[in-house]
């Protein structure tokens, strides 16, 4: 392609950074348009390498990437500016992201940010080569408040930690070091399946995994053959755990039967729903199980290659899954002929701070080196997905159920839980709860029983409300605690399980600032593609600001009417699930807590 290059010459550091992602050769870019198109997917890894090395997406560095990959600079800039973890203006090498999202707010994040402002200057203001920034949920909610340190350079550092204090954030800013990531507490250990190995089996050692029966499911799946595996999966009535609850067996069967080649497998590990951390715990503490499950999925549905799309904010999960993949490959569990079952290869791609990339088609665009904007459906991913090919996308927790179904059979799995919601489910308890953590319970357990398992409301205080399902979920009140946690029962009360978030608020928490944080989150995370979501999330946040000020546009009656129509448009006319659910939690709060919007005029 005849592209106009960026004129700023790259520095040696920038050249080296780009080469670390793209390889040292060749000096010339791709020789044809089709070759350039086939390399476009390397854009995101190259941007990561540049940011990691020089601390920002510099003009010279981006120019080098564009030259190497034959990408128009405007497009590459459009991609770089899509992600919150990339800076396209100079930024100091040391950055500490401090979570100020819902859960962390219940655990003093605002106070922490105030103290940081007093001690180290306001968020975003560089000092002595370091800067701290406010961040949306970092997925360490059971250890709130959370922070993430990133140090760019030739020996880059990335570390997330919980129980963040002024002292630990200050040390990160000045000494460039952070406490080790703490092991996540998990709920009671009786009857665990998904969490059976968590905290007990060394997640860094394949032999330890093999010693407790690891890879038995893969062997069994190869013995059974694809048709039988899909039959068991269908019989299990497993539903997707990412939020949409689509029958997994049907998805696998659809991909397996597609004539177009190749097929792609994607594990959606872009867990970014505020209050969600279950997938992180699985990836950090039981990475071989996810690799094994992906291998089963790949061999069963005819995918020779899989991609684990991992949230950019999960450095430990990155390290653990990366090591698991390497060990699996070294043992022949990945490669040209996996235990005689065929070829399957696996690689990790990291997100860079974009909630929307958890939407499956946005995720494809992100992997392909384009802006993470959702595509219109249909066509659905099972037919036209990653690189335009049939693609199986499963959430981490969904995949984690697969080995068990293969080993024990679909019928045994379906016997757990309820008729409409089979198996067990991971719930992320956080906020004002006595023992925050990941809890595995059979579907049908009541919300009350789950809360009791976690020791109830912290300090025995009265419960105000629970945010069920995350920022895209719904608030439920104390009167609704007896709802059985199933897809069908939560639907009956107008709620959703979403990604398994159970965020507890006691009577001392002011609800309105929490709703404002949710509105701010959606305003930041909207991709901006469609009008309802791009502008509607702004108008929603402005309405909440007026509620906080106590001064309506016109009257509260007209504000109610406005919000009713706005949320209807968001639900009905947005392209994807982000816009369609952007008003759901706030609407549910207004419905359940009438004093949120003043009565009458």
């Amino acid at each position: 392609m005849d592209l106009r290059p960026i004129r700023t010459a790259p520095t040696p550091d920038e050249v080296e950074a780009v080469a670390s992602a793209l390889g040292a050769l060749p000096a010339e870019g791709p020789s044809s348009t089709s070759e350039a198109a086939s390399q476009r997917h390397l854009l995101l890894p190259a941007l990561h390498a540049l940011q990691r090395r020089v601390g920002w997406i510099s003009e010279g560095g981006l120019g080098e990437i564009c030259r190497r990959l034959s990408i128009p600079p405007a497009e590459a800039y459009g991609v770089a500016t899509f992600y919150a973890l990339f800076a396209t203006t100079p930024r100091p090498p040391t950055v500490v992201h401090v979570c100020d999202d819902l859960t962390c707010r219940t655990r003093g994040a605002e106070r922490l940010c105030d103290e940081l402002t007093a001690r180290h200057g306001p968020a975003g203001q560089a000092r002595d080569g370091a800067v701290w920034l406010r961040s949306p949920c970092l997925g360490l909610c059971e250890q709130a408040p959370a922070a993430l340190l990133q140090v760019a350079g030739s020996s880059p550092v990335e570390r997330a930690w919980g129980d963040a204090t002024v002292a630990s954030v200050g040390e990160a800013l000045t000494q460039r070091r952070a406490p080790a990531t703490r092991r996540s507490p998990i709920g009671p250990t009786d009857g665990l399946s998904l969490l059976a190995r968590v905290g007990k089996v060394d997640p860094t050692d394949l032999d330890a995994y093999l010693a407790v029966g690891g890879y038995a499911a893969l062997r069994r799946a190869i013995d059974l053959g694809p048709d039988a595996v899909i039959r068991e999966l269908t019989a299990s009535r497993l539903m997707g755990r990412g939020g949409a609850a689509f029958p997994t067996g049907r998805k696998w069967a659809a991909v397996a039967s597609q004539p177009a080649q190749p097929h792609w497998l994607v594990c959606n590990a872009d867990e970014s729903e505020p209050g969600t951390f279950k997938d992180r715990v699985l990836l950090e503490e039981d990475p071989f199980a996810i690799v094994e499950a992906m291998t089963i999925a790949g061999l069963t549905t005819g995918c020779e290659r899989g991609i684990l799309y991992l949230r950019g904010e999960y450095p430990l999960a990155h390290e653990r899954t990366g090591s698991a993949i390497e060990q699996a490959r070294a043992h022949g569990f990945l490669g040209d002929d996996v235990l005689g079952g065929g070829r399957f290869e696996l690689e990790i791609r990291r997100g860079a701070g974009a909630y929307i990339c958890g939407e499956e088609t946005a995720l494809f665009n992100s992997i392909e080196g384009r802006r993470g904007e959702p595509r219109s459906k249909p066509p659905f991913p099972v037919e036209v997905g990653l690189f335009g090919k049939p693609t199986l996308v499963n959430n981490v927790e969904t995949l984690a159920n697969v080995p068990r179904i293969v080993l024990e059979g679909g019928a045994a799995f379906a016997a757990i839980g309820t008729a409409g919601s089979t198996g067990t489910r991971l719930f992320c308890l956080s906020g004002c709860v006595e023992r925050p953590g990941v809890y595995e319970v059979p579907f049908g357990t009541t919300l009350r029983a789950l809360l009791d398992r976690a020791g109830g409301v912290a300090g025995g205080r009265p419960l105000q409300t629970i945010l069920l399902g995350g920022a895209a979920g719904t608030f439920v009140g104390p009167a609704e605690l007896d709802v059985p946690l199933t897809f069908e029962d939560t639907r009956k009360i107008g709620a959703t399980l979403g990604s398994g978030v159970v965020l507890v608020f006691d009577d001392t928490i002011e609800l309105l600032p929490m709703l404002q944080r949710i509105a701010s989150f959606f305003r930041d995370e909207s991709c901006g593609q469609c009008v309802p979501c791009r502008v509607g999330t702004v108008r929603q946040e402005e309405l909440l600001a007026r509620l906080a000020r106590g001064s309506p546009n016109g009257s509260w009656t007209s504000e109610r009417a406005m919000y009713r129509e706005l949320s209807q448009c968001l639900r009905d006319a947005s392209i994807c699930g982000l816009g369609q659910t952007a008003s759901s939690a706030i609407e549910s709060a207004i419905a359940r807590f009438p004093n949120v919007v003043p009565e009458g005029a």
Binding site: P72, R134, S376, D524, V535, E542, N553, C569
Partner: protein, 307 residues
């Protein structure tokens, strides 16, 4: 052929046709902003949404393929509400003063463009915003995309205060027409904007000044400098304009030009969207290279407005 029902009427369309095609075949008017005949549908504006029986949400008719047996309603209360809110959201955040089509819909759908409060003051930092971060609003005013117009070259103006982010210019600059790739969408969410790399001025970009982006812009955010200057001076008078079709004098392709003439001066050059040669596209010479008519050719009448 595929047969479906639209607003109670049966219609047959070709395989691959969209619901919008089906509506057009029946003479049903469905409003669109981001759709254009020769561009890939991006279904971003959501004006063309229709109600499809059995679907959970409304669907964008410009992108949704017709399927046999579909039952579609193009003008229900639900459809009208979403279109009305889309118009309210756009009008509250974008300067639509040179978008007459949208003004007509605002009227037709009864959109209350002031319901979100008075418009906020223009800002100068729209190109510099960090993704994932924004100043908390106070709710007293409605945020807008207003920013100073970019007048950085002698041929056309980019006034992004009027931009509805329909993606048409990006598509026209890219594989749908010009293959120049000078512009792309940068930023995210409300801060998403059409941009050159690092917000560089156009002369420092890959732009070849074909002006095909101007041709597809639905709101006048992109405008030939000749038109922009006349409008600014209050000298733009559509009632005194005529359009004359001719063939471009430059090369052998033979592009159809539509010369917009006011007071015996060429004030803008378009090409008809349905021209089989251009499909509405031109190059820098065809679109901007006609001033010689006035400078070296026929003498302008003495009463022509001077510039």
């Amino acid at each position: 052929m595929i047969t479906l029902t639209l607003d109670g009427r049966t219609v047959s369309v070709e395989e691959g046709d969209t619901l919008l095609d089906a509506a057009t075949a029946l003479g049903i008017d469905v409003p669109t902003i981001c759709w254009a005949k020769h561009l890939t549908p991006v279904n971003a504006c959501r004006m063309c949404v229709v109600e499809l029986e059995g679907a959970r949400t409304l669907v964008a008719s410009c992108a949704r393929r017709a399927e046999a047996g579909m039952v579609v309603h193009t003008n229900t209360e639900r459809v009208r509400t979403s279109r009305k809110v889309v118009l309210e959201l756009l009008a509250s955040s974008v300067d639509l003063s040179t978008a007459p089509k949208l003004a007509a819909w605002i009227e037709a759908y009864g959109a209350d463009v002031d319901r979100f409060g008075p418009k906020a003051e223009p800002t100068s930092d729209r190109d510099a915003r960090q993704t994932g971060d924004h100043h908390a609003p106070d709710g007293a005013t409605a945020a807008t995309v207003a920013q100073p117009a970019k007048v950085d070259n002698g041929l056309f103006v980019r006034d992004y205060a009027k931009c509805v982010t329909c993606y048409k210019c990006v598509e026209a600059c890219g594989t749908d027409a010009q293959n120049t790739f000078a512009i792309a969408i940068a930023g995210r969410g409300f801060d998403a904007r059409v941009s050159v790399e690092f917000n560089a001025p156009l002369p420092d970009s890959a732009c070849v000044y074909c002006g095909n982006c101007i041709a597809v812009c639905p709101t006048g955010a992109l405008m030939a400098l000749s038109e922009y200057d006349l409008r600014k001076a209050g000298d733009w008078h559509e009632d005194r304009q005529t359009t004359t079709e001719t063939i471009c004098p430059y090369c052998g392709v033979g592009c159809t030009l539509a010369l917009v003439v006011q007071d015996n001066r060429i004030v803008r050059v378009d090409s008809p969207e349905d021209s089989s040669v251009t499909r509405g596209n031109l190059c820098i010479k065809g679109r901007f290279g006609t001033t010689f008519v006035h400078e070296h050719g026929a003498k302008a009448p003495a009463d022509a407005p001077s510039r």
